[in-house]
Amino acid sequence: MGRTKRFLIGGVIILAALSYLIYGGMREAIVYFRTPAELKAQEQSSKGKSLRLGGMVVAGSLQKDLKNLTYRFQITDGVASIPVYFHGVPPDLFSEGKGAVVEGKMGADGVFLATTIMAKHAEEYSPPQTGEPSYPHSFVPGRDEKKP
């Protein structure tokens, strides 16, 4: 049947094109999740791959330059810690001693170059605190000061 064959060929071409699109897209865009310890263990094989690194921002490690919007800090899972460099504005919830996930690639010098920082969102809202909130005199994403 000439017609059936033609539809079959059309179908195969469409499937092949689709698989190619999906394969190409996935190869570019898949991001693996690593903990700092896992990343330390496979530092060599991880170079150049898109990664998400999740852990805690080490208290006291955050150095920021607001003028140039660069942030340097350490991310730890309690076992190992990885230095991270980020240029840009981190999300509001990002701060020392809190959980964060950074996305980017491992640099040649062992510093993780983050393109995005995702701070852990609190799922539930905390109950209202008693008393009025204090007047916020400043708010800088990436707090390093401890709340009084």
């Binding site: 699109l21 190409g24 607001l66 909130p133 994403p141």
Partner: protein, 656 residues
């Protein structure tokens, strides 16, 4: 008291829904008309009871009755009245009740409108509605009760997520849910047709307007969601390929495919099984979307056990898929033996290709959405699939869809001759190539956006060209003036012209997406008072900070003066809102739109200590406004397509 009334109504409605499943079966077994009458009464009863239950919850929200847990968790004494009402869909329990409410409104309308028609189909249509309704009522009554009592009642509630305190949140969920629930109508008719084995065009003709309306709501729901994301979330984008967005978008794809392929069945009696497949998939995806977004499975597969709602939805989804495809397989012998297409170059082929592309897009988005779950479940590897995957995969597919949008409405049914092709496409093709050349010479050198603009122009030109020719013909035949001629044409072929207007709307959206995806500029800086940031044609100067106490929060505003190419200046005041219950402030970005581009300014941080300084992010996003304009055009087109014009039996004469 309110809680007791609400919960009792839900439980009684559940029993009526069970009766709605039993009674049609009894009608079939005994042939007694009384059972069918009682099914209809049961549907009406469900409508009344669920309306009372929903009103009870709204009443509790408005009167801040904190003895009900849902109210205490989603409002405060300070919440304005309209946000208290919208609290109905602010969280899981209430939004399920809203869904069910819409469902019984739809089933009530169907039972009422078709009370004397489709006597054979109707019991089964109402049976399907009752099954869906019984499921939702069971979840609301026993697993996710919005009327759960909190004792002792707290002095004040926790309040709505501040991000939901926005006018768009009043409309986004109801629009989306109306679209979802609206798809139940064609689904129920399709299943009824399968059950009684009457697989002609009757169920499609009956549900045509319902499907178009549901599709329009689905489109609006997604667009308003995008608008909300752009307007409120303050990241400067409107679509992130977030799983929640994908869940809302996925049903749109088979629904769109269905709208087109049913025309092939109406006109040429082909694709019968395919149409049933599409509507089953579209309906299943509305259930799947709720499962995906409400089960907690997205954060991790291990979070899945967090509540019973996810498991219930998954079980119901399995039931829907097994039942529907089981019926389809059972009736397959009725669906065989349809003649094949006459030619590859015909309107039915164009529609089939459009379906293939839409279903491919659905498959790729589905795969990308659930891939992290599969990977974690099968290989134990945690991965995420980012926006680049979705963009690189769907952009070629959507571009080919735009091309098919030019082809489909103009190419001849059965077999297109060279003359037909030349007549309809030669001039539009030349004109769109001309546009592309102009754009290339002017500034646009990148392949994909150039292709996008050219194809969009091609669609627009085919539509204008075709309409102009039809208007000229009417002027010649009937001697009408242009406006009258256009009016006559639209009235006589309302589906065709409504569809063409919708296509124009889609083209405008495509323009907006192509422009903003390809040519956005983004800058970040920390400025002191008086300093400026240059971005694109704009210069943004920081003028100062001020703090304002608002009823629910404290607001810190930064003022920026924006100069466009050096001359006119406008003021922007993006803000950060500090809510007492929240760990971090909520950003309130500000943007101003022109038809050419939007300038979008986000305040990220500020400091009054030492010096007055502000950290900001500014974006220039070209053509974004056309996305929203396109949405308005789509609504307009839909209204043309379904408007009940009087005195004309337009239904019969419809051409496409």
């Amino acid at each position: 008291m309110t809680a007791t009334i609400g919960h009792s109504c839900v439980v009684i409605a559940f029993l009526l829904a069970i009766w709605g499943i039993i009674a049609p079966l009894l009608t079939y077994k005994t042939g007694r008309e009384a059972f069918f009458a009682s099914t209809r009464a049961g549907i009406l009863g469900q409508f009344l009871l669920v309306t009372v239950a929903s009103s009870a919850l709204i009443y509790a929200l408005v009167t801040a009755d904190f003895s009900i847990k849902y109210v205490a968790f989603n409002t405060t004494r300070a919440t304005p009245v309209y946000y208290r009402v919208t609290g109905l869909w602010g969280a899981l329990e209430g939004s399920l009740l809203l869904w069910e409410w819409l469902l019984v409104i739809f089933s009530g309308l169907v039972a009422w409108i078709y009370k004397d028609r489709h006597r054979e189909l109707m019991p089964w249509v109402l049976l399907i509605f009752s099954i869906v309704s019984a499921f939702f009522l069971a979840v609301i009554a026993f697993a996710s009760n919005p009327f759960e009592v909190l004792s002792p009642p707290p002095a004040d509630g926790r309040g709505l997520n501040p991000l939901l305190e926005d006018a768009n949140m009043i409309t986004h969920p109801p629009l989306l849910y109306t679209g979802f629930v609206g798809l139940t109508v064609p689904y129920a008719f399709a299943m009824a047709a399968l059950i009684i084995g009457r697989l002609d065009e009757a169920w499609i003709k009956t549900t045509r307007r319902w499907t178009i309306t549901a599709w329009c709501f689905l489109t609006m729901g997604n667009l308003v969601g995008a608008w909300w994301s752009y307007h409120v979330l303050g990241w400067g984008g409107y679509w992130a390929w977030d799983p929640v967005e994908n869940a809302a978008f996925m049903p749109w794809l088979p629904a769109t495919a269905f709208l087109h392929s049913v025309q092939v069945q109406e006109r040429r009696s082909r694709l019968k099984a395919w149409n049933l497949f599409l509507i089953i998939i579209a309906f299943s995806l509305t259930i799947f979307g709720t499962f995906l977004t409400r089960s907690g499975i997205l954060s991790s597969i291990h979070a899945f056990s967090s509540g019973p709602v996810g498991t219930l939805f998954l079980s119901f989804l399995a039931l829907v898929l097994l039942g529907s495809f089981g019926l389809l397989a059972y009736r397959m012998d009725h669906l065989r033996g349809q003649p094949e297409f006459d030619s590859m170059i015909s309107r039915e082929s164009a529609f089939l290709l459009n379906n293939v592309v839409l279903v491919s897009a659905l498959f790729t988005i589905f795969l990308g959405t659930i891939f992290p779950l599969l990977s974690e479940a099968i290989a134990g590897v945690q991965v995420s699939v980012g926006a680049p995957y979705f963009n690189s995969v769907t952009v070629p597919l959507f571009l080919s869809l735009v091309f098919l949008m030019a082809l489909g409405p103009m190419i001849a049914w059965r077999r297109a001759s060279w003359n037909n092709l030349k007549r309809n496409f030669l001039w539009p093709a030349l004109a769109s190539i001309g546009v592309a050349l102009l754009l290339f010479v002017w500034a646009i050198r990148d392949f994909l956006p150039l292709l996008g603009f050219m194809l969009s122009a091609f669609v627009a030109f085919t539509i204008f060209f075709d309409t102009a020719r039809a208007v000229r013909a009417r002027r010649r035949i009937a001697g009408e003036r242009i406006a009258t001629a256009l009016g006559t044409l639209v009235r006589r072929n309302q589906r065709r012209y409504g569809g063409l207007v919708v296509h124009l709307g889609i083209v405008l959206i495509a323009l907006g997406i192509a422009g903003s995806m390809s040519y956005s500029i983004e800058r970040q800086a920390t400025l002191e008072v008086g300093q400026s940031l240059a971005i694109g044609p704009y210069k943004v100067r920081f003028e100062g900070l001020r703090g304002l106490q608002q009823p629910t929060h404290f607001r810190v505003e930064a003022t920026f003066r924006v100069f466009n190419n050096g001359d006119e200046s406008r003021l922007y005041s993006p803000a950060l809102k500090f809510f007492p219950n929240q760990q971090a402030p909520v950003g309130r970005a500000e943007f101003q739109s022109t038809l050419a581009d939007d300038l979008y300014i986000i305040l990220s941080g500020f400091s009054e200590v030492g010096k007055n300084q502000a950290t900001l992010k500014a974006l220039v996003r070209p053509l974004v406004a056309w996305i929203w304009i396109g949405g308005v055009v789509i609504v307009f087109g839909t209204i043309i397509a379904i408007w009940p014009f009087r005195g004309e039996s337009g239904e019969r004469k419809d051409e496409s």
